[in-house]
Point group: D2
C-alpha cells in the first residue's frame, strides 16, 4: 500500500527531492538473469536530461545513475535493484522567493496544507526532477523486456504543442529522433521551434499532448477488472507531474462515435492470428491486450513556473504577486516523452510477469487458441 | 495485489458474472459505527437499475442487495461488509449466438485468448452488470462519508451524447434528476431523447461523456506520487467498462493553454481559507486536493452489442458476421453516471482514511496553516 | 492493504460473522482451467465440521458451501471465486450473558475497545467459525495444486494435547484419518480420548500442537526477504484463532543446537537432485524451499470459553465473574488441523504462482541447475 | 505486493547485498514532522554494529547511515525516507571457496536453484548484513513513535544461549545494556561468556532465544483477521535471517495449559483502565492489543558458517566437504537483539497509523469505553 510505489510484480518505488543529496528508484521484482549495466540505464536517462537545447530548463545535471544493488557480474539477480542519481547542480539561491509564497497552479500550497512542512527548494518532491527516477526504472524495464520479448518496441512522441497539432498524414517514425520535440512530423517540428522561441522569450509556457505506442505486445496481457492494462496505464500516466488527461486508443472522441464505427471488425491475419480492421480500442479490450499496438495519449499542462506576474498568497495569508525567476521549461511536455515511454515499459513488463504468474506459460503464449 | 480490488484502506473487491447465481462487493476497511442498512444501499442501486426507461436495456433485474456481514444492529462493525446481489432475470437463451463468435469491440476475444475459458453468458465478468457491485460499494462509501464529512456532495451528470454537448450557460444542478439522461441542461435532455430514439430504432449505439463533481472536499487529500488523488481517480474511472478517456479539471484541453491562463490565481477567501480565481486544476494540485470542487470527466464508448451486422471470426478461426440480438443499451453512458459517482465516493473516502492514517487529525484538519 | 486478506497472487479475503446470515471467502487470482465444483470444496469443509464427535462443539452446522462466481461448466475462469456458507444453527439465546461481560482470554474486550461496537453473538468475527472460510478457500487451493503439481501432499496432524505428546517412534501416516484427533499415533489417540473426556466433563479445556507437512514441494519456492516462504507460513498460521506460536522445522529448539548439528548436510540423490542428511531446516533455507518436506508447527491455546468461573469486568467497568455456558470445544486444536492444512495449501499455491511470475517457467522448473 | 517490503502504512523496503556498493532501506509512509537526523539513526545502528567485542564477527564496518531524502531542516516531510549505508570492509578474497560449494544450512543452494545466479560474496542478499537496513528503518520508526507516543518503550534481550537459559527470578532491566549479550541476568551473562569462548575457539556456533517487549502500547492496535498485530509480528520476526520459531506471550507452552490457567482474569485498574491478573496472551487478544506489555519471542538458529568440516556438494553436483574460514558470529543471536527491537518498532508504528486511519482519533484513543 506504498504510496510512492507502482506495479504488481515489477514494483517501482521512487524517492528523493529536487535539491536533496540524491534521488532514485528502488525496483523490486525484476526477473533474474537480465543483462544490464549502468551504461544501459544511462542511455535512457540521457534522453530526458535537461539543458540539452534551448527548449528545456537550463539546469545542468549530470544525471549519472549508479546501480547500488541487485546486479551481479552484469546480470540482475532477482533481488531489489537500487538506482541512484546524485543531485549536483542545485543553486538553491534561485528559489528564495518561493519560501513564503505559493506558485499558482503548483503543488506548493497543497503540500504545505497537507504536511505542514515542505522542501520548497526546486519544488522538492513535486519537482519534474522526480521523473528521472521513473526513466531510470523504465530503462531497467526495457532491458528486461528486451530479454523476454525482443521484438517489442515502445515509442513516445509529441502530437500537439498548444494550439498546434501534427498532421497524421505526414507521420514518420524516423523523424521522432531527429528533432528536439520528438515530433513524428518534420513540418510540425519546425513550426513548434518558432512558436516556442517566442513563448520562451515572453516568459510564458504551453501545454502538450504526448502519445506513446507499444508495438509487438502479445495478446492476453491485462487483468480484469481493476488490474486492467488500461487502468494501470491510466494511473501510470496520470501520476506524471502536470498530466491532466489520459486517453486509450480513440480516447475522449469515442464518445462521439456510433457503435458500428467504433467497433474494430475482426478478420484472420496471414500469420494465423486475429487481425483488426482498425484500432479504435488502442489495442485493449476488456482491459486485456488484443495483440494490436497499445496506444496511450496524455495531456501535459503548461508549467506554472513562469515569468509572468500572477496573483497569489503567502504562508501568512497575505495577498501578493509572484514571478518565478528560476530556470524553467517553456514546454515541460517535451521532457515528458521519455517519461511516458518509461511508464509504458514498466506497466507492460509488470503485466507480462503477472500474466506468467496467473495464467502460466511464457509471454506470447495464451491459453485460448483460435483456429 | 488483488486484481479485482481497488482502494488503499477502504478496499473494494467485486466478484460475480452477469449470469451466475449472484454478484457483489466485499468491502474491507469500512470504518466502524457508520449507520447503514440494506435500504440505504438499495437507494443508490436503484439509480442505475436497468429497464427503468426505454433508453436502457430492457433486462429486468430486481437488483436487491443483501448485507451478509460487517453490519450489526444498524451500524458497521469495522469487519468486512459483504454486499450480495442475486441474478434473477438471466434469459441465457438470448446469448446462444455469441458462444462461437466474438463481438467486435467486445472483451469476448481477449478473455478467450487469455484464459482459454469464458462465461459467454451475457458477457460474464466483462458485462456492465459488474458495475452494480461498484454502486453497492459506493453506496456504503457514501454513508461513511455522510458520517465523517456531512457537507460533502458527489454528483454525476452527462455532458455529451455523441455529437451533442450540453450548453454550460444553461447548467442547472436541479435538472439532473429531472431527466433520464442525468443532463444538467433541460434543452439538451430533450434533444438527446429524440436523437437516442432514432439510434435505438436503427439498432445502433452511441458514446457519451460523464462528469462527476465532488463538492465540499477538504484540502489535503491525496498522496504523492503514485497514490495521488487524481491518479487513483483516473484508475477508478478507466476501470469502468467501456471507458476510454479520463480528464481532471481542464483535462486534455490543458495542452492548449499557456501557463498564465491555466494557473488558477490564489486569494484569501472570506472564510479565511485560500480561494481561487478559477478551477483549471479540477481541485487537485500535485495530487492533493485544494479544497475546490474535484472535477473528473470520462468518455464511455458506444456499446459494441448492436443490431448492425459486423464482420468477425469464430473460435475456430472462420471469418463470419455477427448481429447482437439480445437486449442492449443504445447509450450505455447513461447508466455509467451512478457508477462514476460510486467510484468517486470510494476513492474520496479511501483518501480521507489514508489522510487520517498518515497525517493524523480528523478529516478537514490539515497540518499546515495559512494565515 | 486489505486487512482481511492474505496472499500475493492467490489472494483470499474472508468475510462474515459467527451468527450473521452467512460467511465465506472471496478468492481472487485462482488460475483458470482448474476443475472444481461444490462437492470438491465440501469434501474439505466436512473435515472441520463441528458436531462430528463428542470432542468438538455440539453446534450443528450444515456448513454447505456454494460457489457464487468464478466457475463455469466445472472449471475456474480466472475471475474471483466467491465461496459462501450460510449460517443455519445460530441459537443466539445461548449468548445473552456475554453481551455485557468480557470473557477472559477472549477477543471480546479488545474488539469492544477498538471498534466501540461488536457483534457479541458467538464471538462475531473472532469466532473459530471464521476458519470455515479458510478451509473453503484452502479446498480451492488444493484443487489448483492438484492441477499444477499432482504429486504434492499436504497433511496435518496433532502432535500434542496438553501435557501429552505423540511418540515419534510410533508415527504412522495411515493412523491420522483413523481417529478423531488426527493423531499419527494410535496409542496417543487412545490416551487423549480418555484425557479429553475428563476435561470436557470438568468443563475445562486444553491446548494443542498441530504439525502440517507438505510433501513433494519443488525447490525454489519463496521470495526473500519479506516474502519468504517461512515468513508467509508464520503469518498464515499465527492468523488462525488461538494460535500463540509457530515453528519451522527445528523451530524453537534450534536455539539449543550447535551449528554442526543444525546444518543439514548435502549429498546428491539418486534422482540427480540434491538430498539432505536431515531436515532441521523444515525444507526452507533463506526463505526458499529446498525440495525437502515443508514442516510447520503451531500451538493452539486452550479455549477461553469454559464452564469454570473466571473473574472479569462488564462494559460499565464493574468487576464480576463469568462462566461460559454455550457450546464449546474442550480442545479447539482438533478442528485447527484442517485449518492449518488449508493455510499451508493457500500459501504454497500462492508461491507457486509467484515463482512463475517472477522467475518464469513452470512449477518444479528452477533457473539454477546442479550437476 | 513488493516482496522486499513490509508494513501497511509505514512501509519499509530493504535493498542491497553484503558486498555490493551499499545497502539500505526505502521507507514510505513515515508521518511528517518527526524530528530526526543521521545521528539519531546512527545511535540505533551502532548497537548492532559488528566487531564490537570478541563474540561477534570481526568484520569491521563503519555502518555510517546517510539520509538521502524525506527529511528537511531536521524533520520528516511525509515523503519517502532513503537510508543508505555504504559497504566499506568487504574483503571479497575471504569468500573464494563458496563460489563453487554450497554451505549446509545456508541459503546458498536455494538462491542458486531459484535464480540461477547469486552474489556469493558474503552471502549476498541473504547475509545477516541485510539486517542493518532493518535497524536503520527501525531507528526512524522509534523516532516517529517517540513523537506520537513518548511513553512507549521497546526493549529486546537474550533469554537463552544454547542449553543455557536466564533465571527469571534474577531478571533485571538495567542489566541488559551492561553485558555484550543483552542479558537481563548478570549471572547468565557470565556463564554465557565462558561458554561462548569455548565454542568460538572450537570453531562451532550456537543458537539463541531473543525476547522483545513493548511497554506502554495502547489498547486497540491490530486488525483482524490477517492484519492482526501478532500475525504481523510473527511475519516480521520470522523474516529475520536464521529465525525458525516465533512465540507471542505464552507461545508454544500455551498448548500445555488448561483454559482456566491460560485465560488472564480481568479487573479494573486504579487508572480506570482494565487490568489483568497475568499476561499469558502477550498483550494481544484476537489480534488486537490489550494495553498490557506486548511480548514476542523468537529462536535464532546457530550460524551455518563454521570452522567444522561439513559434507556438501558443488554447483556441478560433485560431493565434497566445506569449512567456512571467513569471519563469523559464534552466536549470531546476539546481533539479532537490536534487529528484533527494530522490527517490533516498525510493526507497532505501522499499526498506530493503521488504527488512526481505520478508526480515527489519536493513538491511545479507542472508540469503545469501559466504565
Amino acid at each position: 500500500m506504498s504510496i510512492n510505489s507502482f506495479g504488481h510484480l515489477f514494483r517501482v518505488t521512487t524517492w528523493g527531492e529536487s535539491h536533496g543529496p540524491a534521488l532514485g528508484a528502488t525496483v523490486d521484482g525484476c526477473p533474474p538473469g537480465v543483462p544490464v549495466d549502468e551504461a544501459m540505464i544511462q542511455h535512457w536517462l540521457d534522453r530526458r536530461k535537461p539543458g540539452q537545447n534551448k527548449y528545456t530548463t537550463q539546469r545542468r545535471e549530470a544525471d549519472a545513475v549508479r546501480i547500488l544493488s541487485g546486479v551481479f557480474e552484469g546480470q540482475t539477480t532477482g533481488t531489489p535493484v537500487q538506482l541512484m542519481i546524485e543531485n549536483t547542480d542545485q543553486r538553491s539561491k534561485d528559489y528564495g522567493d518561493i519560501m513564503e509564497k505559493f506558485r499558482p497552479g503548483h503543488a506548493d500550497i497543497t503540500y504545505w496544507q497537507k504536511y505542514g512542512i515542505r522542501d520548497y527548494r526546486g519544488g522538492g518532491r513535486s519537482s519534474a526532477r522526480e521523473t528521472a527516477s521513473r526513466v531510470a526504472a523504465g530503462g531497467l524495464a526495457r532491458e528486461a523486456i528486451r530479454a523476454i520479448a525482443p521484438d517489442m518496441r515502445i515509442t513516445g512522441y509529441m502530437t500537439r504543442m498548444g494550439a498546434h497539432e501534427i498532421d497524421r498524414s505526414r507521420f514518420d517514425w524516423d523523424q521522432i529522433e531527429q528533432n528536439p520535440f520528438w515530433a513524428p512530423d518534420a513540418q510540425a517540428a519546425n513550426d513548434w521551434a518558432e512558436y516556442l522561441d517566442d513563448l520562451r522569450k515572453s516568459g510564458s509556457s504551453v501545454g502538450a499532448v504526448i502519445e506513446v505506442v507499444a508495438r509487438g505486445v502479445p495478446a492476453g496481457l491485462g487483468a480484469p477488472v481493476y488490474g486492467k492494462l488500461d487502468t494501470d496505464l491510466a494511473a501510470a500516466m496520470m501520476s506524471i507531474n502536470a498530466v491532466k488527461g489520459v486517453e486509450i486508443g480513440e480516447g475522449m472522441s469515442a464518445a462521439m462515435l456510433t457503435g458500428e464505427l467504433n467497433a474494430d471488425e475482426i478478420f484472420m491475419g496471414n500469420d494465423g492470428k486475429p487481425s483488426y480492421s482498425s484500432n479504435h480500442s488502442g489495442g485493449i479490450l476488456g482491459g486485456i491486450s488484443t495483440g494490436q499496438d497499445i496506444v496511450v495519449r496524455f495531456a501535459v499542462k503548461p508549467t506554472s513556473s513562469i515569468l509572468k506576474t500572477r496573483k497569489t498568497i503567502t504562508k501568512t495569508g497575505a495577498e501578493t504577486e509572484i514571478v518565478t525567476k528560476g530556470r524553467h521549461d517553456p514546454c515541460v511536455g517535451i521532457r515528458a516523452v521519455p517519461v511516458g515511454e518509461a511508464m509504458m515499459a514498466c506497466v507492460i513488463l509488470d503485466h507480462m510477469l503477472l500474466h506468467r504468474g496467473q495464467v502460466g506459460g511464457q509471454v506470447g503464449e495464451t491459453r485460448g487458441h483460435i483456429g
